[in-house]
Symmetry: C2
Subunit: 328 residues, 2 copies
């Protein structure tokens, strides 16, 4: 049987366990051009939350990025035993078009990395920080969700570019993780800060040259008056608003004008073609120890709803994943 | 005697006439390195409003851009009779350092143009629209304050780039001006619109590729959900907030992410070095009739407070100026 996690109710604000149903169905057979995979590692990504409002159909398995092994193939490109990643689902087995799969090269890193640091979350950090933020030596960089899947890498890329890097985090454990393990220069525990704008000013007294935006809302409001001239704000996500029923608005946008700052939303889907060269570069940075990356891996399909809900609440250090089966 | 307009009270929200005092003082003599000018055309710019909150000292003449004629000079560069522009003041005569003046070449256009279309307001429209907005043929462009000093030119530059251009204006007169005289394709009268976001969607049904931001606030909120993918928002001003005592915040910023849009604040002071080549280009566009530019000129120093206050309320079509004396 093939157990999967179906979206059965649209969340009203916060996602709750009863939005999902675990259901066993027969393992499907691949048709012409299709591939049957045994799913090995499932991703839990913040962006899925937005899709649950409308884009994902009700009563179907949630589509996510998955690392998998080919178990049967009617597609010329793939053969049994191949390791792949693609948009499959929160389920143990998937059937999909062969065109929707990409190769996983275990020589570049652990296979789980292909939905984390060697996958789209990693490329997101690279594009946002390196290409849109372009931190320079001596500049000051603030990364929100700094212990998370994207922020933890974005901050290290700014450090490697010679910038001083501060991360915002939600707990003392995360603060220790980013400063002691990841090499951030300082952490702001936003829940402990009496006043966020003051905390940002104290941590980055010369102003914020790059703000890597994962959060939005009150944190963005705290950053805007602290921007340095010509600041860059790559907008990767605004997770603080994803579970709100209304949009309270953001004050202080006039600081974009006063500081001649640039705020740029981006989607990694515009950059997918650059994944392969990115994977080679990042694989070397990881192998040399210049970049460290944490995965927060839960076990078994039944764990998926709680793993996802907890990630939205920020209980993860590093990339939240769920492992269903070993690689071999 | 030298009559000038002094800032004597900081505005609380709206600027009122009692923020200013007209005062007669003796015409000063230039010291070593200084130049005495007879001021011919004074500018009334929206950005002055922000400076009245703190930057401008109380009890002194308000510093603005002025076209003037040199009447006495102790500076090697300038001689009696030279036409110049510079940051002088809302006054009939000024004494200033010779380094703070730039030449006015009457061959390029009427001298008043040097504080309007051939001056910083014109260069502002150019940098914002051409270099940050970079409209492409077939794209859809929305310009706010489209009958104003900067917006009226920004929209025409987008039209010359082959875009379809819609402007927001505050009256039927202005709507006629931008469509019949300036060649905008359509106008949105924001005061007449039942719902601004609907009005924007109807006027630009394929989405807004470039939004030239002069206004902020409710208009920005109406534009954000109507952005096209990869939209650009050059932020030239946010005049709607200049006279507000609080900042109500802007909703819908998450659209920057969803549409992969870029919002860029800029200051023309970063681009001053490009004024001379800009003036040559724009002079040709004006001479050929490809660009049309309106000036809204009041007469006499006593008119300055009302001219400025009215401009903040949007009573101008084109660049609001005050003429003190003829050129020769």
């Amino acid at each position: 049987m093939n157990r999967g996690v179906l979206l059965v109710r649209r969340p009203e604000g916060k996602v709750t366990e009863d939005c999902f149903e675990l259901r066993d169905r027969p393992v499907p057979d691949p048709g012409p051009g299709q591939v049957l995979t045994r799913n090995l590692v499932l991703s839990c990504d913040p962006y899925l939350r937005g899709r649950m409002d409308a884009a994902f159909p009700l009563g179907e398995v949630v589509t996510v990025r998955v690392v998998a092994r080919v178990e049967a193939s009617q597609h010329a490109r793939w053969k049994v035993g191949d390791l792949v990643w693609g948009f499959l689902g929160w389920e143990e087995w998937s059937v999909t078009a062969g065109e929707g799969l990409w190769p996983v090269d275990p020589a570049l890193g652990p296979i789980s990395n292909f939905v984390s640091v060697l996958g789209m979350p990693g490329l997101t950090a690279w594009v946002g920080m390196v290409e849109l933020g372009h931190p320079a030596p001596g500049e000051s960089v603030l990364v929100s969700s700094a212990a998370g899947a994207v922020g933890s890498l974005a901050g290290q890329l700014a450090r490697l570019a010679g910038a001083r890097v501060v991360g915002t985090v939600g707990s003392p454990d995360k603060a220790r993780h980013i400063t002691e393990t990841l090499g951030f220069h300082a952490a702001i525990e936003y829940r402990a800060a009496a006043d966020l704008a003051t905390a940002v000013r104290q941590a980055l007294p010369g102003g914020v040259d790059v703000y890597f935006e994962n959060v939005g809302g009150a944190l963005l409001e705290a950053v805007l008056p602290n921007l340095a001239d010509h600041a860059r704000i790559p907008v990767c996500g605004m997770i603080s608003g994803y579970e709100l029923l209304g949009d309270p608005g953001v004050k202080g946008l006039v600081n974009l004008l006063a500081k001649r700052a640039t705020m740029t939303g981006f989607s990694i889907y515009d950059h997918v073609y650059r994944l392969a060269p990115y994977q080679r570069t990042m694989s070397e940075l990881l192998a040399s120890g210049r970049v460290v990356y944490a995965e927060d891996i839960w076990e078994g399909i039944d764990a998926v709803p709680a793993a996802f809900i907890g990630m939205l609440a920020g209980d993860n250090i590093g990339k939240r994943l769920v492992r269903l089966a070993p690689e071999a």
